[in-house]
Amino acid sequence: MLDIRSTSLLIRAPLAIVGVLLLTACAQIPQKEFGSYKESFALAKEASKQIILDYSALKQRIDAQNAAQDAVTVSTLERNKPFDPDKIIASSDPVDHIAARFQAWEVVESYNTALTALVEGKDAARVTGATESLVKTMENFPAESFQKAAANITPALGVVTTLLTEIQANYDRERAVQALITVSPNIREGLVNGMIEDTKDYFEVFRALNNQQISSGVLEIGNAAASFVALATSGRLNQDVKDKIKRINDAVGNNIVSSASKPFEKPYIDVTKLTFKTSAGNEGPLMSSQLDDHVNAIVAAAKKIEAADAASNDYRKLLGNYVVLLHKLDKSLQNLAQAAKTGTNDSPESLQLLYSAVRVQSAFAAYSKNAN
């Protein structure tokens, strides 16, 4: 947080001396380093947008289910409810949480651009332009969908705006730096931490929808197994039936019993608990083929559950990488603010940010492959 007393001293400091000192320091800052940092930042932003868009797709699936459910229940229950105009108004103007998060990234990017321009020692006009862009982005932030980030940053931007007026009249780089450093902790507490908090809910939403896929697979297995058992027990326990039961138990018992939702006993079909007839009612090519159909249906459903399990692991890894990326971004912004403050060439850790972004994209590719 900005130290008021030190700022006061800075304001009183002779502008000429400060300017000369800062220009000298800025001349030592390597331009190439910040070029790669900007590229890393852009990749990080895109990687984050992928995660947010993916949540948007999950949310659409929830909304579709809610709508289907409402269509069934509302008509019967609505009659007994009071007429609620507030609820109608609220639902007619939905908050776009996805757009709000995208906009949050635009804010961080604008801030990043302004700060980078300062650290790179750009002239006053360019710094001012970059910072004004930040202010403008915030002004365009959808008022209906402000986040904590926006709430925290907006007032600090007031400081930036006020100081910019003076910066334009009399270039005082140090004060511009101070203004942007004032915003820095708010970016962390508002935007970065908010996005990290989001990941918990992203995962739980994913988990629930993923569990629906598993439940669907479990039902398919239960239905196919019931048909199989009915047919198989219509005759003797011959080798063909034993082999098919082994295939079922291998597919269901061995693989799925270890998953998070343990729907099956092991072995799934216990022949010692079944009652077989003594006739040959389950024999012959036609019966064997019908039994095979049920076995194949069970194996396919088991694979579907395994795929859902794998997708869940992939998504967990993806969000893990994403959280690391946000942490690296936070560190980069802090380093950048520090570099702006001291005029040194402290690295904004562009390579680490770049690696984190690449890891997110790679994890996203693996997740997408299993999820579809």
Partner: protein
């Protein structure tokens, strides 16, 4: 965190029981289908509760924004340093409201 873990454990335990019925070939077809419908409804409710968390977070910040805008208006006649001081105070309140 403990509440979240408890909620998850309760959800998962209930889901497991419903899935056991759905996968039980000795149950009737109607029982299996009903168990799956209940499982899907349970999962939908769980998903909704977390989607609501995201919505609630946004709503919480929106309310706070109104408060901060009031602070800015009040201080619009003050100098930059006075604004900074007030912002720091405001952010302290924000932390209490949001994270408290």
């Amino acid at each position: 965190m403990a509440i979240e873990e408890t909620a998850l454990a309760t959800y998962q335990a209930t889901l497991d029981k419903l899935n056991q019925i759905a996968g039980d070939f000795t149950a009737t077809s109607a029982q299996r289908t009903e168990a799956t419908n209940a499982a899907n409804k349970l999962s939908l409710d769980y998903a909704n509760s977390h989607a609501d968390n995201i919505a609630a977070r946004t709503q919480q910040f929106r309310e706070f924004t109104a408060y901060m805008e009031g602070v800015i208006q009040q201080l619009s006649t003050g100098g930059p340093l006075a604004v900074v001081q007030q912002i720091e105070n405001g952010i302290k309140v924000a932390k209490t409201e949001i994270f408290g």
